[in-house]
Symmetry: C2
Subunit: 270 residues, 2 copies
């Protein structure tokens, strides 16, 4: 999906919500365990219920890998289901990959060709040749970690040389590796005021913003500091939506939660 | 496997070789394609042939993920085979993972409990809470990226604040997160002279050193700059061993290559 199509879907749905599919098999409603693939069944119902309010879905690969080969099958089925039934939804494989060139090339193949994701989250530590193999796929994206939402972001991301913090260097240097058509950046909502600094370096790129909901970030602040004229934001919420209710009506409750966020987002969009 | 056992195996085999299982299905000998799981069959033969000369094996997850759920099954079978038939070999899941705490905890579960690896490679960008969930498993290890072997290492790993380069900060700060019993560091062989600087900060830790063989690093230099009194080195070679020959005798040729490396290593060990 290209940038213009993504922006079109945002304006059509009046939403820049990304629903995170951190579908922990130990947390999904117990009555789903009778299904052959309980995680897929959970995802399918969450997706159908929340898709009217969301422009993107972000499966978090850790929650599939922990189920081994069966988990990989659930993930693959989830993405195939999205592609077929909700082709207007952007799919982000939250994988935090990144390795030497020949290995990143295999990850890109696994996640873009194999799974069919639109975007992959990538860690920047290993530099350009660890990222560029993900940039060779038409209409596919890298979401590069810049400033993350967790406490540990303080450990290295603010390391400063000549007034430039590491996350700023990552933004400045990496924006030359691709374009705003194939790169976006991960910037945590828990540091909303930093979005103003981020926007000085990458005014046009989309930002993937985790950390509202369970992690406590503010949607209003994120939107105020981070939005650009093509919206430029995908704001993720995972647990606060998908695990809002653990009973029979889990999908309806998830839809209500997603609708609340969408309604707030609608007010911030032009 | 603990540090003393690892050192014991190194002295017993007179080797600190790690064989990288970058088992690209498009590069394995064609006659293996008749097997139900060609990648596992390739690994099994490589492992049996090279285990007399190697103390560790390092499957590179990208080369399994690109085959989807079947690839994950090949990986799982490979690690189970190692555990059962070569219990004195240290198993490193080369995964370059790292995410917020609850997600890293799931990756740790997937790779330690699910797959049964002894160690996992982890990227440091997201800081302590992205790494510490991997440190809660008795006898299991994190191999944290410090200074990598690729060209892109120059992009961010030398970012310098107050005279301290980022990779040095990663070493200094992270060594307080665990101990030399559960943390090792990835330092590329292509920067062997930097190993002296690394050893100033982490004199006792094991270093996992990729980059000899296909990437061109020198085993002599790595050993000269990096070895400590408990050896403290695991030196990886992947393609130069496992793809040394593409015919019927691929495993014998791989064994010859591994034996050459082991013979050189034997001279450097006390």
């Amino acid at each position: 999906m290209n940038r213009e199509e993504l922006f079109g879907n945002i304006m059509k749905k009046r939403s820049y919500l990304c629903v995170g599919l951190d579908s922990d098999i130990t947390k999904i409603p117990r009555h789903l365990m009778q299904h052959e693939d309980p995680v897929f069944e959970f995802n399918r119902r969450i997706i159908d219920a929340t898709a009217p309010y969301a422009v993107a879905f972000k499966p978090n690969l850790a929650f599939y890998e922990c189920n081994g080969a069966a988990g990989w099958a659930s993930l693959s089925a989830t993405i195939a289901y999205l592609r077929e039934n909700h082709p207007d939804c952007f799919i982000i494989a939250d994988a935090k990959r990144g390795d030497i060139g020949n290995t990143s090339a295999m990850y890109a193949q696994a996640l873009f060709k194999g799974l069919g994701a639109d975007a992959v989250t990538v860690a920047p530590y290993m530099g350009e040749d660890s990222v560029s193999p993900f940039l060779g796929y038409e209409g596919r994206w890298v979401a590069l970690l810049a400033l993350t939402s967790n406490r540990g972001a303080d450990d290295f991301q603010y390391h400063t040389e000549g007034g430039e913090r590491l996350f700023e260097k990552v933004l400045r240097q990496s924006k030359g590796w691709g374009t705003e058509e194939n790169m976006m950046y991960v910037v945590g909502a828990t540091r909303a005021e930093m979005l103003a600094d981020v926007r000085k370096i990458v005014p046009l790129h989309f930002l993937l913003v985790p950390g509202i909901g369970a992690q406590g970030g503010s949607l209003r602040e994120v939107s105020s500091y981070g939005m650009n004229e093509k919206c430029g934001l995908l704001v993720n919420s995972s647990r606060a939506i998908i695990f809002a209710d653990g009973g029979d009506r889990f999908d309806k409750v998830a839809a209500d939660k997603a609708a609340e966020v969408q309604s707030e987002m609608s007010r911030y969009l032009p």
